[in-house]
């Protein structure tokens, strides 16, 4: 128990889905008259829909030990991303409790908060701070980030003029230089060309082999195999099993 860095107990997340009750609209005229009616009779807007509960996560419990590199796998809609969002405190769970001991950085998307009008240099600072780095930290790693991304030449060009490959490389370069105690990563390695992907994977390995705890969602089993030492399998919003990966 002592070295459980993340403890997830009976986490559930419910969403409410709205359904429209009516049959299919036949014509544009029907649609228009119906909408017009609903303006004058506001109650109709509400009576038309009924809600259904949807459990994106249902009673999920597991724990992660210090230094574990855990891959989370499962089909589309199994609840992997919801789990990561709850762990990164973006959404709150409906039930359950999670205890985390350490600084968490989550990487749910490459280039969160990049602003198209800002230059590459400015975006490194902005994105770095959004991901939770301090200014001094970004400054000290600035050269490394630039070198990793390989966009030195365009550092003072607004990123809206970047090719999509350059954009993604710069964004990943910032993220790769995060140094939290716990790193949460969602399917972000599938970017750039094959060579850059290899570079990313290598960087991720460096990060995870330095004793940090990593949670990693991917559909790419090869990436999970090479990065993680454990895997958690989710299916239909439920926790199925946790297993040690054989190298």
């Amino acid at each position: 128990m002592e070295n459980n860095i993340i403890q997830v107990e009976n986490i559930s997340k419910r969403y409410l889905l709205n359904h429209q009750n009516t049959g299919s609209y036949n014509s544009l005229r029907d649609v228009i008259t119906d909408k017009a009616q609903s303006i004058f009779r506001p109650s109709k807007i509400f009576s038309k829909t009924n809600t259904e509960e949807f459990w994106a996560l249902n009673n999920v419990s597991f724990e992660v030990k210090q230094g574990d590199r855990v891959g989370i796998i499962g089909r589309n809609g199994a609840g992997k991303s919801t789990l990561l969002k709850i762990l990164s405190r973006i959404v709150t769970p409906t039930k359950g409790r999670i205890t985390i001991d350490g600084r968490v950085a989550s990487l749910l998307e490459v280039g969160t908060g990049f602003h198209p009008e800002l230059t590459g240099r400015e975006n490194i600072f902005l994105n770095g701070s959004i991901l939770g780095m301090r200014k001094a930290e970004i400054k000290s790693k600035f050269d490394e980030i630039v070198e990793f991304s390989g966009v030195e030449q365009f550092l003072d060009t607004p990123v809206k003029r970047y090719s999509s490959g350059m954009y993604v490389r710069l964004a990943f370069a910032v993220a790769a230089h995060l140094e939290p105690e716990i790193l949460i990563v969602d399917e972000v390695l599938a970017v750039g060309d094959a060579e850059f992907q290899k570079k990313c994977l290598g960087k991720m390995k460096d990060v995870s082999s330095s004793g940090r705890t990593v949670l990693f969602v991917s559909h790419n089993m090869a990436a999970i195999q090479s990065l993680c030492d454990k895997a958690i399998y989710l299916s239909k919003a439920k926790y199925k099993k946790q297993a040690r990966l054989i190298k």
Binding site: I5, I86, R89, I90, D101, H115, L126, L131, P158
Partner: protein, 280 residues
């Protein structure tokens, strides 16, 4: 173990919220810096916009006041009276509307990273504050032109600026949180700003309202509930001196409304904050 223990529970009141807010001050600084940088990118005259926009409003409001012959205290040029009111109004209207739309405008951040959400509307207000400070040059130039020397009360100006800040953040937080769920408020904001320009003492002065015999008492009471009335009167009192007295009771009413707005804004924002990422 580590001192950073985080407990995630369904509706737990995050006791570390204000500490968290302090820890994320770096992000606050960077978001404000981003907004400042982006605001005048790819504009030919850049920062000049911060002067031109209030300047045009001053001329229009001056014209309206002149046309309807609103009273001007002895020894004070009408343009100065209008200017001392337009600048705080402009600050309020821009920071209120920017803050109100800020959460939706930054929805990509809300759904991808954690940070105390208060940072977003708060950082947009900083940009408007900088614009305000730049536009202050207009006032200085007009004063210089009319060789108008303010008295020592002008040192109290930051106090009233702070009140304007409180009002715009309070109202902004409230509308921003509502706007996340009900986009209707996107259409309400321009109305508030547009009406506010005419019902606040910009083209006229509060004394016109209070001394008028044609205006029913009830309307006068309602008028004082506009928080911008107290703030603008305060600005005029600081800048123009004794000729534009501060009516104490209405002023207290305005301040009370400002503070209530802030408390309500923060309360509602905090209440809704947890569901932002789900409903945005």
């Amino acid at each position: 173990m580590s001192k950073h223990r985080i407990v995630i529970e369904p509706s737990s009141e995050n006791s570390n919220y204000w500490k968290d807010l302090w820890n994320y001050r770096g992000l606050f600084y960077f978001l404000a810096w981003r907004d400042v940088l982006v605001k005048y990118k790819q504009t030919a005259i850049g920062l000049l916009w911060a002067v031109i926009r209030p300047l045009l409003t001053i001329f229009v409001m001056w014209f309206i006041g002149w046309l309807f012959e609103s009273k001007v205290p002895q020894g004070i040029p009408r343009i100065l009276l209008v200017c001392a009111a337009t600048l705080p109004w402009q600050f309020f209207s821009s920071s209120f509307s920017e803050a109100s739309g800020s959460l939706v405008a930054n929805s990509n951040l809300l759904t991808k990273v954690y940070f105390p959400r208060l940072i977003i509307p708060a950082s947009t207000v900083i940009v408007c504050l900088i614009d305000f400070l730049i536009s202050f040059v207009i006032l200085l130039i007009i004063m210089l032109y009319y060789q108008f020397v303010p008295d020592v009360k002008i040192l109290l100006l930051p106090l009233f600026l702070f009140l304007a800040l409180v009002t715009s953040i309070g109202a902004g937080l409230f509308i921003a949180a509502l706007n996340v769920k009900y986009r209707d408020f996107r259409y309400v904001i321009p109305f508030i700003v547009q009406f506010g320009l005419y019902i606040s003492p910009i083209a006229f002065s509060s004394a016109d309202i209070y001394n008028s015999t044609r205006i029913p008492q009830l309307v006068k009471y309602i008028y004082t509930l506009n928080p911008m009335v107290g703030i603008i009167d305060g600005f005029r009192w600081c800048i123009l001196g004794g000729e534009t007295p501060l009516h104490l009771n209405p002023f207290i009413a305005s301040i009370t409304v400002s503070i209530l707005l802030l408390i309500m804004g923060i309360w509602y924002f905090r209440k809704m904050e947890k569901s932002f990422a789900d409903v945005i």
